[in-house]
């Protein structure tokens, strides 16, 4: 089996994998990082969003061998291990941006990426448009939109930029 080497949440990992292994399977099954979820098989729902070299990707449609040598950040690595939550995580809690929690890791990772691309002052319309690749069945998106706007503002405070690295 071929070998893949990655940096995941700041730690170097190397493993032999079946060539058809997807990034999400590698994270969940090899590394037991089960915070990244799978909600569909057509790349629509966004529950599997992680950051690949600082940019959001859907890990369900990324072959792990195709990203050899890259750096991956998952929801588990968004905040420092013993530090405070990332401002976007905190914003989701404060604004009740989650119910069942299943879409949440993907939403938060997509939201941080949105801020990295679009800045800290995000209006309702922009957020809703940018969430095209993420589905939530619980919240009706109302409080997710609120969370992202608040998280974006909080990220301007300086914390949380590490997620883009």
């Amino acid at each position: 089996m071929p070998t893949v080497s990655l940096t995941v949440n700041g730690k170097a990992v190397t493993a032999d994998v079946d060539p058809r292994t997807l990034l999400v399977q590698f994270l969940r099954e090899h590394l037991r990082l089960t915070g990244t979820h799978v909600g569909c098989d057509t790349s629509q729902c966004g529950a599997c969003v992680v950051h690949l070299d600082g940019k959001a990707v859907k890990s369900c449609t990324t072959l792990v061998l195709s990203i050899n040598g890259s750096s991956v950040t998952t929801i588990e690595g968004l905040a420092d291990a013993n530090g405070p939550l990332h401002p976007m995580q905190e914003a989701f809690r404060q604004n009740h941006g989650l119910q069942c929690g299943y879409c949440t890791p993907g939403m938060i990772m997509a939201a941080v990426d949105m801020v990295n691309r679009k800045g800290n002052d995000l209006d309702d319309h922009t957020i809703r448009k940018e969430l095209d690749g993420n589905l939530c069945r619980c919240t009706g998106y109302h409080n997710i939109v609120k969370s992202i706007a608040a998280g974006a503002r909080a990220m301007a405070g300086g914390a949380g930029q590490q997620a883009a690295e």
């Binding site: 915070g35 998952t74 299943y102 069945r137 409080n143």
Partner: protein, 788 residues
């Protein structure tokens, strides 16, 4: 109100694990040595299975076993059941056809499983499944419920002539006939309540493990009601006795009804785990979920409303065909009957109602409860009728509603429901004020100037929640009682664990239930934890659906807390050397009335366990109390939703521009969580009205079987929603709670369609009102106006 008590928007205790990726959903759990299951499913909607050849597949790498329906039957694994008996109007029982967990001899819907491959890895199981050769003889299929009973239609089950499950009715058809004969005005609607796919974001999953030393089985699964799953899998399927079967429903990623039911896959995983001697895991992929999760709605309805010259309703007649799919799912029979027709009085005084429901089999995925379950269908009928009648009579739709609202409580409807409390006009008035209905005419003119059509639609809905008084549902055919249980365990240092038979899959029980305890015992919310979802930890309970956890589940907790307080007072009396009657418990302190002698709750808890200072012959040591609470009535949340839309006439695109919801949920424990429930419900209702539809072709293939084909609501489909409440306390439970989980999904479809028909000036707008549907309606309305 304390910062963490009843009425406070406490931030959720469960969020920490979800926002950090530390939740434990079923697929996150792995057991040593686990194997993987992959199901071989029928590509045909209706076919005879002439044979299954597993030889080539069995030789594939990693395959441990390939199991079929014949082996399932040989091992005497029982069928899945529908747990609610409905009798037809002629007194005959419903025709419940056999539902084996793996089909044997015949498949009845595309996706029906015929075999399962168990292999070392999921990829190996999947690879091998492609080598399983199934010899199908394809039969003609029937998918349209309106055609299922037709002469010559393909017959699905032997014991169900004309594919008819039951022909049920409520009310007096002759008396209704008389009312309609003498009616001054009759409004008529023909409606299709479109079939929906629940699509909780977490796909269903099951992980089963057999312990041969203890001869016991454990099942982790995505269930809204693990005890009910255990009961059915034990008592009906016969997998193992209840005390040898542990069911754990850990974190569950949304349910909306679809995870209430007992499904074939969890039965097969349990059976396979014992047969193979390895833990067996199965997780649905989304395509599989579309083909196997129970769908919702799917009614074809003709309804009429009779009114007098003053706009007072004199009667209603409804005829519905309900599609239950290929098999009767766990609670399917109750949805189009007792959860539907009993709500047809809406918020109105209606002296005569007759409703007839035919439930039919089709070659489609089984249909069962989906958020609202019967009540959205009823509300859609009632609220469309009212709207059509108002336009026919030339009355303001709000005024017609106001004239017919139930105004005095309790109110006994003619369809069995006893409304206990409400103020329907208050909700509508508040919603109209917030929405600025007065300014609508001006907004409509502004839209018109840019060539757009603007419409405003009301939905003054009612629902029955808090399911349900056990004796009542028993008399209606339910196989179970619908009480709820709780145990409050006070630990020696004063922390508290609450064990509940309810199950949270997004509702936030770990917070709201703890708020009740914090308020009642006067202890910090951090000192309370809520335990649920494990049959080995929690006493028997009925799970979460039908907005029952607040009204029924929390009432059970309140009852247990009463007992804890009573016992703690006795113990406090001994510790304080005072008479029990003199002990006052307030703000977490036991005080001897009129003195400054007091003990904190934690001190009394410790005293209870140390047991040094009271006679243990009279008072048992320890502080732990349980309660079962059986509700005295359903609860009746109600409210008014107003939807305002704008239509682009050239494209038919409908945009929701404003939404106001004013709901009466009785006493609210956590406003933040309640608002979230309303938002989510509205999104699902809007999804039904504008976007979603499970579409089958004539051969029974699900055409909209993925997120690429089935239009799930996205963030940009919604405006910001205004949510408010009015409160009439529910007199039917100790906390005054009515429930809020389904309101949005119940209210929304009618509000949207009433707004569209208002804008277009044409009543025949089907759901989902896609751009194509609305564009056609706009053109039709123009043609009618031109001809007039």
């Amino acid at each position: 109100m304390s910062a963490t008590g009843i009425g406070a928007s406490v931030r959720r205790k469960e969020d920490q694990r979800f926002i950090t990726g530390k939740g434990h959903y079923t697929d996150d759990i792995s057991r040593p040595g686990q194997a993987h299951a992959y199901f071989v499913r029928s590509p045909h909607a209706h076919a005879t299975v002439r044979g299954i050849d597993t030889a080539a597949a069995s030789a594939k790498p990693g395959v441990l076993a390939i199991l079929t329906g014949a082996q399932l039957a040989a091992d005497k694994i029982g069928n899945l059941i529908c747990g609610w008996m409905i009798h037809s109007k002629d007194g005959s029982p419903m025709n419940m056809a056999p539902h084996p967990a793996l089909a044997a001899g015949k498949v009845n819907h595309a996706g029906d499983a015929v075999a399962v491959v168990i292999a070392e890895t999921l990829a190996q199981a999947r690879d091998a499944s492609e080598a399983v050769k199934v010899d199908y003889q394809v039969l003609p299929a029937v998918v349209d419920p309106a055609k299922a009973q037709a002469k010559g239609a393909p017959q699905i089950h032997e014991g169900a002539p004309n594919n008819t499950i039951y022909q049920w009715e409520i009310g007096d058809s002759a008396a209704a006939e008389a009312v309609f004969k003498s009616a001054k005005h009759v409004a008529t609607v023909d409606l299709i309540n479109n079939r929906l796919v629940p699509n909780a974001l977490e796909p269903r999953a099951a992980l089963a493990e057999y312990d041969d030393g203890a001869d016991s089985l454990t099942l982790w699964n995505t269930s809204q009601n693990p005890h009910v799953a255990r009961l059915v899998i034990s008592a009906f399927v016969g997998m193992a006795p209840e005390h040898k079967l542990r069911v754990i429903a850990p974190d569950v990623g949304g349910g909306f009804g679809s995870k209430i039911f007992i499904y074939p896959e969890e039965v097969v995983c349990l059976w396979a785990a014992r047969k193979v001697g390895r833990p067996v895991k199965w997780t649905a992929d989304r395509s599989e979920a579309f083909l196997t999760d129970c769908h919702g709605r799917d009614h074809v309805t003709h309804a009429e409303l009779a009114l007098d010259d003053n706009g007072r309703i004199t009667g209603m007649r409804v005829k519905t065909i309900a599609n239950l799919g290929a098999y009767m799912s766990t609670f399917s029979s109750a949805v189009p009957t007792y959860l539907y027709a009993t709500l047809l009085s809406g918020q109105y005084e209606i002296p005569m109602i007759h409703c007839a429901v035919d439930a039919v089999y089709t070659n489609t995925v089984p249909v069962d409860a989906y958020r609202g379950a019967g009540r959205p269908e009823a509300t859609f009928v009632v609220e469309r009728l009212i709207e059509v009648a108002a336009r026919q009579l030339g009355l303001d739709p709000a005024e017609l509603r106001r004239r017919n609202f139930v105004k005095t409580f309790p109110y006994q409807t003619v369809v069995a429901s006893l409304y206990d409390a409400g103020d329907y006009n208050a909700s509508m008035k508040k919603a109209m004020d917030i929405h600025d209905v007065k300014g609508f005419g001006k907004r409509r003119r502004v839209s018109a100037r840019s060539g757009k059509l603007r419409g405003l639609g009301y939905s003054t809905y009612i629902e029955a929640c808090g399911v349900a008084p056990s004796a009542v549902v028993g008399s209606l055919g339910a196989g179970v009682g619908l009480w709820e249980s709780a145990e409050v365990r006070v630990n020696p240092a004063g922390t508290v664990e609450v064990l509940t038979g309810c199950h949270a899959h997004g509702q936030g029980h770990e917070t709201t239930f703890a708020q009740l305890v914090s308020e009642r015992l006067g202890i910090p919310i951090e000192q309370v934890s809520v335990v649920h979802g494990d049959t080995d930890k929690v006493q028997f309970g009925m799970g979460t659906y039908g907005s029952r956890s607040g009204a029924v589940g929390m009432s059970a907790i309140a009852k247990a807390l009463d007992k804890v307080e009573a016992k703690a007072k006795k113990i406090a009396a001994h510790l304080l050397e005072a008479a029990e009657a003199d002990i006052v418990f307030q703000d977490g302190k036991f005080t001897v009335a009129g003195t400054d002698k007091s003990l904190a709750f934690g001190e009394v808890a410790l005293g209870a366990y140390v047991a040094h200072k009271f006679p243990t012959g009279e008072i048992e040591p320890g502080l732990k109390e349980g309660a079962f609470y059986d509700p005295t009535n359903f609860t009746f949340p109600a409210g008014c939703h107003i939807c305002e839309i704008e239509i682009d006439q050239d494209t038919g695109r409908t945009e929701i521009v404003a939404w106001t919801a004013v709901d009466d949920f009785g006493v609210v424990i956590n406003p933040m969580i309640v608002e979230g429930q309303v938002h989510g419900g509205i999104a699902q209702g809007v999804g039904q009205a504008l976007l979603e539809g499970a579409v089958y072709d004539a051969d029974g293939q699900l055409v909209s079987g993925s997120f690429m084909d089935y239009a799930m609501p996205h963030a940009e489909n919604f405006p910001s929603i205004k949510v408010d409440t009015t409160v009439t306390k529910c007199p039917s439970n100790p906390l005054g709670i009515k429930g809020c989980g389904e309101a949005g999904a119940i209210a929304a479809p009618a509000a949207v369609i009433n707004a569209i028909t208002d804008a277009v000036g044409h009543e025949n707008v089907t759901m989902p009102a896609t751009a194509q549907v609305v564009w056609a309606a706009v053109r039709k309305a123009k043609a009618v106006r031109a001809a007039a």
